[in-house]
């Protein structure tokens, strides 16, 4: 891939160009030093994240609550999204988008809302430099720097950023701002490389104790009846936080409401940990017990998703660990259950 360098001062010009392109969302650190993705106008400035933000990218493409249809419909209303840019995505979050792309865009039926938002988005990602203690992307085959699914990637160096182009869309943006981007030098690239290796080693180091000898799929396949599931579910309060905050969880429910002269169909995030999630009209429930629903999440991520799409449905971002009021740590659960 082509690599460029942009200086800090040229980057200010680039930001104002991005602002004109459409809605611009950037990473910024709040008073508690949490990285959040906010509208640029609200954030005031872009701060290089160095780690994944509090929220995943999911809500930008798959909204928590949205109207997906009105009926009866005399004419088909075409949904149109505004162009938007996200600046500061982490590698794990790009994997999250890759997973959602599979679910929403592959097969006989594409989701028209996701497709439109994806088409209008520009994804600018950043290498991680300060991973959290809960980060474990390397356990899921991801490095803490973006390798794909970005349009443009930034790696912060002294005085500016190494810029890598990851798509045609990204290429067009660079071409449209040619004067701001100079070819990256070998020195830039070797600096980037050593920073990347340093951070990767850090994540690998803190994840080493959780690493299975083979694939997660093999590790979890034998563990379905393991008594450890019962122990680990004890502090689960079925809040669904781990699922709603997950970059890849895509489950939703459809429900209809009456408007003045017609009806609307809404789509809302749903969570497989809820008791009636899989219940059918006749009353049968495949997973009436909490432990069965708890397990379902792990099997979906590490067995079912790879069986269908060829890679894990967990990105190792660690958000579920931070979000859990029951202090359930996915890494610890897997370590115990899979006898890592």
């Amino acid at each position: 891939m082509e690599a460029f360098f942009i200086t800090d001062s040229d980057f200010v010009s680039f930001l104002s160009w991005l602002e004109k392109r459409g809605d611009l969302f950037v990473t910024t650190r709040d008073e508690e030093d949490c990285v959040k993705i906010k509208p640029y106008a609200e954030a005031g400035e872009f701060q290089y994240p160095g780690v994944r933000a509090v929220q995943p990218l999911k809500p930008f493409f798959f909204t928590m609550l949205e109207e997906v249809a009105q009926y009866p419909s005399a004419e088909e209303k075409t949904y149109e999204a505004k162009p938007f840019t996200i600046l500061g995505a982490a590698a794990c979050d790009l994997r999250g988008i890759e997973a959602l792309d599979k679910v929403f865009l592959e097969g006989d039926f594409k989701d028209p809302f996701y497709e439109e938002k994806r088409a209008k988005s520009l994804l600018i990602s950043c290498d991680c430099t300060e991973p959290y203690e809960t980060c474990f992307c390397t356990l899921m085959g991801i490095r803490p720097y973006p390798e794909k699914t970005f349009d443009i990637n930034l790696s912060m160096l002294e005085g500016g950023y190494v810029v890598e182009v990851g798509s045609d869309k990204g290429k067009q943006v660079i071409d449209g701002n040619k004067s701001l981007f100079k070819p990256a030098t070998d020195n830039h690239l070797s600096q980037r490389q050593s920073l990347r290796k340093e951070v990767e080693a850090k994540v690998e180091g803190q994840s080493k104790q959780y690493k299975p000898s083979g694939s997660w799929q093999d590790a979890i396949a034998e563990a379905f009846e393991d008594p450890g599931w019962e122990r680990n579910v004890e502090t689960c309060v079925e809040c669904g936080a781990c699922l709603f905050i997950c970059p890849t969880c895509q489950c939703f429910l459809l429900y209809d409401e009456k408007l003045k002269d017609r009806y609307e169909r809404l789509r809302m995030w749903d969570a497989c940990v809820y008791r009636n999630f899989a219940r059918v009209g006749g009353g049968a429930n495949p997973r009436p017990r909490l432990v069965e629903r708890f397990k379902h999440r792990y099997y979906h991520k590490l067995d079912y998703f790879p069986k269908t799409y060829g890679f894990e449905g967990c990105v190792g971002c660690g958000r579920c660990i931070v979000a859990c009021p029951g202090k359930i740590d996915m890494r610890e659960v897997l370590k115990e259950i899979c006898k890592v």
């Binding site: 009105q70 899989a278 009353g283 009436p288 269908t308």
Partner: protein, 274 residues
């Protein structure tokens, strides 16, 4: 942009009382809908929501589609209150069909129970429209009581008359009444002496979960290969397009990879029969 979440309007032409809890709704969609036997659709009760049903009429029937629906939950209760001339919505068809072309030249055993007779009627009619492609069809159906038998006259009289040499039907009830002269016992009790070559035949099962479980075990006991047993799975199919996650069975989204699945693919999946 085609919006897969928008239902097509369909007018209710006729409502047929089948049993005390089951009605057939004959509906006329505003646009032509082509489906294959085994595929399902999402039916909207306006303002209330959707539920998945497999059409019970022949896929070749033009202009209208039958849905045979048991009153079991919120949507079906509201649907049972609806009458001729009212409008419902339809999305679909979704999912896998019964692969009739693959079954050419074979003997076919169909085992159904309760409202599971609905998709099986679409299948049966599709099979009989090309009866020369199949050696024999044995249709076994069980209901709780004689009053609960769906399509009773069709199963007893009309269907065998289509071709008495090739088609046989058997009925049973869990509990008889004073007028019932037929077999009493669960459906597996009539899946005996089937006179089919089990090694090369096709078995099809659809009905309530407990019935499907024991009917499938019966077919396995009789010697049907797992991959020749076709199950029509009932899970919570909501979006119909493999995305919402409610109908997962192992790695399969039943709405997309099913509802028709062969037993070999799903026999080891958790909560298969629940």
């Amino acid at each position: 942009m085609k919006n897969v979440y928008t239902p097509i309007e369909a007018k209710i032409l006729e409502v047929i009382d089948e049993t005390p809890t089951i009605k057939t709704f004959v509906v006329e969609p505003r646009e032509e809908i082509k489906f294959k036997a085994g595929q399902f659709m999402e039916m909207t009760v306006p303002g209330l929501g959707e539920a998945p049903f497999t059409p019970s009429s022949s896929p070749s029937q033009k202009g209208k589609i039958d849905f045979t629906v048991m009153k079991v939950g919120r949507v079906t209760e509201a649907l049972h209150e609806m009458t001729e001339g009212q409008t419902v919505g339809l999305r679909g068809p979704f999912g896998t069909e019964y692969p009739l072309d693959k079954w050419k030249g074979k003997e076919i055993l169909i085992v159904g129970g309760g409202v599971g007779g609905a998709p099986l009627r679409a299948l049966f009619l599709a099979l009989t429209e090309r009866i020369n492609d199949f050696k024999k069809i044995l249709y076994c159906y069980g209901a709780r009581t004689p009053a609960d038998i769906v399509y009773k006259d069709q199963i007893q009289k009309e269907w065998p008359a289509i071709d008495p040499r090739q088609i046989e039907t058997r009925l049973t009830v869990d509990e008889g009444d004073a007028r019932w002269k037929g077999n009493v016992g669960v459906v597996t009790t009539v899946v005996e002496n089937i006179g089919l070559d089990v090694k090369t035949s096709i078995g099809v099962v659809c009905g309530p979960p407990i019935m499907m479980k024991f009917a499938t075990f019966k077919l396995v006991d009789l010697g049907f290969p797992d991959e020749a047993i076709y199950l029509s799975m009932e899970k919570n199919m909501s979006c119909g397009i493999g995305k919402c996650g409610h109908c997962m069975l192992g790695q399969y989204m039943v709405c997309k990879d099913g509802p028709v699945l062969t037993y070999d693919l799903i026999k080891d999946k958790p909560a298969l029969w629940d």
